[in-house]
Symmetry: C2
Subunit: 237 residues, 2 copies
């Protein structure tokens, strides 16, 4: 081993978390951006992020949850680690490690949180069309692209898209959510079979949704055990 | 944002890389462990790892490559980022971030490298049966479990196992490699169709392997473009 110094004598590494928060507006994926209030890139719209706070955060996932809470008011959305971006080239302040998390949030939860937050302090976060973000600072373009690729590919064989639905939804609504994320239509019969295999839904007792034009449809919610973790399919959709 | 200090004023975070190097001996996955030459856990067998060296490494992947080179003599094996483990609880020295990489190496390449290295300095690294590792220090048990799960699940729909084969191999040898990783037999006809779909192999001109008992089999190698990256199947094996 070539390390003989104690860690504190090593040149310091900048340790941050960044969050790619994705939500679905109709059939369009949107990404949350926050306006930077300091250099570098002061004033630019970027992924919400910040330094890890070793004296406050239990781990980097807790740092990401804290950053999201500070910038949006959201508590405990569905969060998974996307990957870590590191090195000398990505941040003008020096050698850095950014642990990146992907958060999925139903649009109405996010809009309510942002609205509540805006009544007490100036809004710093806003949703942007994921397909037309323009050029973001740091390596945030790569992070967004990585998150979208991960969500698309994982939606093929898991319950991931349920985290983009509200608290209660019908099976046709869930199917449209999957179709929007995957960008392709799905067969209704095989979709329903796959949802049964995933086994993450439970009917909301006595709750139906229906208008004049449609037969009433049963409302479902995600079972408690699957609100922070995924169920995986043996074979994809 | 609650950060107003410059990064260097933040309490320091210990930044390391750890490598889960996997290889296949017959049908058994083995993991490389290195004996720790310092506290904490001095003398224990653990995953090879070390601090990132900001003045030497371009990024954390370069740190992982350097650590593997120092401990095994291997140059540029197939490497992918597994994930990042972080927080106050995982290292007795303090709040830490460990970026973990998974390396796949053909057994003979690794054994040759370890042998060459042992002629110049004492050996610090050794292969252990992945199924009988005992208890490892830090959160290295979780890292090994995570790497094996990743390799198993990714082998279902990608060219990943080719990185466990030597430079040249027959299709039956490659099929046995997939079967060993997946832990289940595969149908020969559909396996070959999937390998064609992956399109990562090229025949070695004029090279056949065969003994008295078998019809000679064509030897293949991995195409240059796929030695450091994967090809993915539309639908898994």
């Amino acid at each position: 081993m070539s390390d003989s110094a104690t860690p504190s004598l090593h040149p310091s590494v900048i340790c941050t978390v960044d969050v790619v928060l994705l939500t679905l507006r109709d059939t369009r994926l949107e990404v949350l951006l926050a306006q930077r209030d300091r250099a570098p890139f002061e004033g630019a719209w970027a992924l919400p992020g910040g330094f890890v706070h070793p004296q406050e955060d239990a781990d980097a996932a807790a740092s990401a949850t804290r950053v999201l809470r500070e910038k949006t008011g959201l508590e405990a959305p569905y969060l998974e680690q996307l990957g870590t971006y590191s090195g000398l080239a990505r941040d003008p302040r020096g050698w850095s490690i950014a642990v990146v998390y992907c958060a999925l949030v139903p649009l109405e939860d996010l809009e309510q949180a942002l609205h509540r937050r805006s009544t007490t302090r100036p809004s710093v976060a806003r949703l942007h069309d994921a397909a037309n973000l323009g050029r973001l600072p740091f390596d945030h373009d790569a992070m967004v692209a990585g998150a979208i690729e991960r969500v698309r590919s994982k939606s093929q064989y898991s319950s991931l898209p349920v985290h983009l639905c509200g608290a209660e939804f019908t099976l046709p609504q869930l199917q449209r959510t999957y179709e929007a994320v995957l960008g392709e239509p799905l067969n209704k019969v095989s979709f329903r079979r796959k949802m049964e295999e995933l086994n993450v839904l439970e009917p909301v007792e006595g709750a139906m949704q229906g208008g004049a034009a449609h037969r009433p449809a049963q409302l479902y919610r995600v079972r408690e055990a699957y609100r922070q973790r995924l169920s995986m399919l043996e074979r994809g959709l």
